[in-house]
C-alpha cells in the first residue's frame, strides 16, 4: 500500500494543540508538528521526549573544567614552574586562586560550544541543508500537523481526514510517497 502523508494546516497554535489532543485521544499518532515558534505544551501531547542536550552541556563543561585544571597544572607547575617575585609555584593548590578565572571561562567555553555543535548535528541544521517544512507559511503564521498512514494503520486515509477536519483546520494537503 502506498504510504500517504497528510498535512493539516491551522492558523492558531491553541487550535492546533486542542486538535492534536483530540486526535491523540482517539489513538491517532501525530508524526510531526511544524510551527513558526515553539508551541508550549505540544511535546507531551504528541509524545516528544524532552531533549537531553542539557546533560551533554554538563558533560562538555566537565571536560572543559578537567582540561583547564590539568592544563594549567602542567604549564605552570610541572613544565616550567614559574617564579614570580621570588615566590615559586610549588603546587597547584597553592596557586589555585589565580587559576580560577581561566578554569571558569574554559568550562563555559567548552559547555557552550560543545552543546551548540551537538544541537546543530542533532537538529540536522547545518549550512547548506535543505528546508524540510511542508509549506513556506509554516515559518510565518501557519501551523501544520503531519500524519502518516503507515503509522496509523488502524485508520484509513479518509478516516484520518475526517478526524482532522473536525479540529478546525484551515487547509488540508495529501501527498503519496
Amino acid at each position: 500500500m502506498a504510504e500517504k502523508v497528510i498535512y493539516a494546516m491551522y492558523d492558531d497554535d491553541d487550535v492546533l494543540k486542542d486538535g492534536a489532543k483530540l486526535l491523540v485521544s482517539k489513538g491517532v499518532k501525530v508524526s510531526e508538528v511544524f510551527s513558526p515558534f515553539p508551541i508550549h505544551g505540544i511535546d507531551p501531547i504528541i509524545g516528544i521526549k524532552n531533549t537531553r542536550l542539557g546533560i551533554m552541556a554538563f558533560l562538555y563543561g566537565l571536560t572543559g573544567l578537567t582540561l583547564a585544571t590539568f592544563g594549567m597544572r602542567f604549564f605552570m607547575i610541572q613544565d616550567w614552574p614559574m617564579n614570580i617575585g621570588g615566590k615559586p609555584n610549588f603546587s597547584y593548590m597553592e596557586n589555585i586562586l589565580s587559576f580560577i578565572p581561566i578554569t571558569f571561562e574554559f568550562t563555559v567555553l567548552c559547555a557552550a560550544h560543545g552543546m551548540a555543535i551537538t544541537y546543530f548535528l542533532r537538529n540536522k541544521t547545518l549550512p547548506g541543508m535543505p528546508a524540510q517544512n511542508p509549506d513556506p507559511r509554516t515559518t510565518d503564521d501557519k501551523f501544520v500537523i503531519e500524519l502518516r498512514t503507515s503509522e496509523n494503520t488502524k485508520f484509513s486515509g479518509e478516516e484520518l481526514v475526517t478526524m482532522l477536519k473536525a479540529t478546525g483546520i484551515v487547509e488540508l494537503d495529501q501527498k503519496d510517497i
Binding site: V33, I48, P101, V108, P130, A131, D135, T139, A166, E171
Partner: protein, 496 residues
C-alpha cells in the same frame, strides 16, 4: 499560556496578527534601503576607513604615534577598550539574564542588543591587539610554548585571564545570537522572492524546518546558554577590572572594582542600546514593538546601575581617606582637584547626577529625554575610564616623572574609526538581518499583545468553548465542521 494582569501595559501595541509581525520585521529587509541608510552607511564607512588608515599608520610606524609616554603607558587605548567592552555588556545581559528572569519585554530588543554587543566586543578586542604594536605577533597571547623551550603564557596574570574572558564572551555571544537567528532566517528564506536572497537566506537558515523536536531543543539550548552566559557577563567585566585592581597603583588597587565595573558596564551598555533602539524603532517602523514601556524598563535599569556606580565613586573617596594610606588619598584628591578635574567633573555629572533624573516618571517615559541622557551616560562612562586610568598614573611616585597625557590625532582617529566601524556593522545588520526576534515575539502576542489583552472575554471564551466543545461533543463537532468546511476548504497538492 501565561496569564498577564490586564492593567499591565501591553508589550505589543495595536491589533497585530502573527503575520503582521512577520511583515513588520521582514519588510525593511525586503524593501529597497531608504536613502537615509545609504547616507548613514557612507558616513560611517568613511569614518571607519579613516580609523583603519590610522591603525595602518600606527602599525607601520610604532606605538610612539600615540600620545603615550614613559609615565603614562596606558591611556586612550585601554580607555577605549574598557569603554567598548562595557557597552558590549547590555546585549548578553538582556538576552541571558532577562531570559532567566522570564522578562518578556526583552524579546523586542534582545536581537539588536546582542548584535550591538558582538560588534562592540569586536571594537574592544582591536585595542589590545594594536597596542601590541606588532599585530602579527598577536597569537602570542594564546597558550603556546615559546620556541626556546617550554615557557608558556602566564596563567597567573589578569591580562591573560582577559584574553580568555573576552574570547569566550565573544564566541559564546556569537553562538547564542546565531542560534536565535536561525528560525528567523528561515522565515525570511520562505518569503524570499529573488533567487539570490533565497539562496543566501537558505544557507544562513541552516535548513531550519520548525519541527516540534527542533523547537524543544531550541528552547533548552537557549535556556542553558542563558544560564552559562549569565555568570559569563559578570565574569568578563570583573576580569577587566582585575587588570587594574590586582596592580599596586594607588587609585587602581581597589577591591570594589569588580562589582563597580560590572554595574558601570551594564549602565553604559543599556545607554547605548537606548541610543540605537530609539533611532531604529523610528527608522524601521517598529514603534508597535519597542515603545515607551520598553524604554521605561531600560531607564529603570540605567537608574539602578547608575546609582550603584555613584555609590561606588563615593565609597572609593571615603575609603581613600579612611584607609590612612597617603598615596591612596592623594590619588583621589588629585583626581578631583588635580589637572584632570574637568574629566572628573564630567564623569560625576554624567554618571551620578543624570541617571537620578530617571526617578521622575514623565522624564523616564520621555523618548527625547532618554535619547539625550543615553548619550550623556556614554560620554560619562568614557570619562570614567579615562579618569581612573590616566589620573591614577600621571602622578608617579617620583615628581620628576610626573606627566600629562595629550591624545595625538592618531589616538583620536583610531577611536573615531572604531565608532565608524561599529556603525558600519550595525547598519549592515539592520539592513540584512531580522532586527527583532520575530518568532520569539509571536510567542508573547497572546499574553502581552494589546488586541488580546483588551478583549480577553470574546477571544478567550471563543477558544475555551471550542476546547470544551471539542472535548465533549466530538461527534457533533465533526458534523458541524464538515458542513461548513466543505465550502471554503482548499485542497492543493504540495509541490515537491
Amino acid at each position: 499560556m501565561h496569564k498577564e494582569a490586564a492593567i499591565r501595559e501591553p508589550l505589543i501595541l495595536g491589533h497585530k496578527t502573527y503575520h503582521d509581525i512577520t511583515e513588520d520585521v521582514c519588510k525593511p529587509i525586503e524593501d529597497k534601503a531608504p536613502r537615509m541608510w545609504y547616507i548613514l552607511f557612507g558616513i560611517a564607512l568613511i569614518i571607519g576607513l579613516y580609523g583603519v588608515g590610522c591603525i595602518l599608520y600606527l602599525l607601520g610606524t610604532g606605538i610612539g604615534v600615540w600620545g603615550l609616554n614613559k609615565t603614562i603607558g596606558w591611556a586612550w587605548d585601554i580607555t577605549n577598550f574598557v569603554w567598548w567592552v562595557g557597552i558590549g555588556h547590555a546585549g548578553t545581559l538582556i538576552s541571558a539574564v532577562l531570559l532567566l528572569f522570564r522578562q518578556k519585554w526583552r524579546m523586542a530588543i534582545n536581537r539588536s542588543a546582542e548584535a550591538m554587543t558582538i560588534f562592540a566586543v569586536f571594537m574592544a578586542g582591536m585595542f589590545p591587539l594594536i597596542h601590541m604594536g606588532r599585530l602579527w605577533a598577536g597569537y602570542w597571547v594564546m597558550p603556546l610554548p615559546n620556541q626556546f623551550g617550554s615557557l608558556w603564557v602566564n596563567f597567573n596574570s589578569p591580562l591573560l585571564w582577559d584574553v580568555f574572558a573576552i574570547s569566550t564572551y565573544l564566541s559564546v555571544g556569537l553562538v547564542f545570537w546565531y542560534i536565535g537567528l536561525i528560525p528567523d532566517f528561515a522565515t525570511i528564506r520562505d518569503r524570499a522572492k529573488t533567487n539570490v536572497s533565497k539562496k543566501m537566506y537558505s544557507i544562513l537558515a541552516f535548513g531550519w524546518s520548525g519541527r516540534a523536536k527542533q523547537w524543544n531543543r531550541f528552547e533548552l539550548v537557549s535556556l542553558v546558554l542563558a544560564g552559562l552566559a549569565t555568570p559569563l557577563v559578570f565574569s568578563v567585566h570583573s576580569i577587566v577590572s582585575f587588570d587594574f585592581a590586582t596592580s599596586v597603583i594607588p587609585g587602581w588597587h581597589t577591591t570594589i572594582f569588580p562589582p563597580y565595573f560590572v554595574a558601570g558596564a551594564v549602565f553604559s551598555g543599556f545607554a547605548m542600546v537606548q541610543t540605537l533602539m530609539l533611532i531604529m524603532r523610528k527608522a524601521m517602523n517598529l514603534e508597535a514593538y519597542i515603545h515607551t514601556r520598553h524604554v521605561e524598563y531600560m531607564n529603570i535599569v540605567i537608574m539602578v546601575t547608575g546609582s550603584i556606580v555613584g555609590t561606588a565613586y563615593i565609597t572609593e573617596l571615603f575609603v581613600s581617606w579612611y584607609s590612612g594610606v597617603e598615596y591612596e588619598a592623594y590619588a583621589f584628591i588629585n583626581r578631583a582637584a588635580g589637572p584632570y578635574w574637568w574629566a572628573y567633573a564630567a564623569m560625576m555629572t554624567c554618571n551620578v547626577v543624570s541617571p537620578q533624573l530617571m526617578w521622575f516618571r514623565p522624564l523616564r517615559r520621555s523618548l527625547l529625554f532618554t535619547f539625550i541622557i543615553s548619550i550623556v551616560v556614554n560620554i560619562g562612562m568614557w570619562f570614567e575610564r579615562y579618569v581612573i586610568i590616566v589620573s591614577s598614573i600621571h602622578r608617579d611616585y617620583l615628581p620628576s616623572s610626573w606627566s600629562m597625557h595629550y591624545p595625538s590625532h592618531i589616538d583620536l582617529g583610531v577611536y573615531l574609526g572604531t565608532i565608524g566601524l561599529f556603525f558600519v556593522f550595525f547598519l549592515l545588520f539592520a539592513r540584512y538581518f531580522p532586527v527583532l526576534a520575530l518568532n520569539e515575539v509571536k510567542t508573547i502576542l497572546k499574553s502581552s499583545g494589546e488586541s488580546y489583552k483588551n478583549a480577553p472575554d470574546t477571544h478567550h471564551h471563543e477558544e475555551k468553548s471550542n476546547v470544551a466543545k471539542a472535548a465533549t461533543n466530538v461527534s457533533k463537532e465533526i458534523e458541524d465542521k464538515n458542513d461548513d468546511s466543505s465550502s471554503d476548504e482548499t485542497n492543493t497538492d504540495i509541490k515537491e
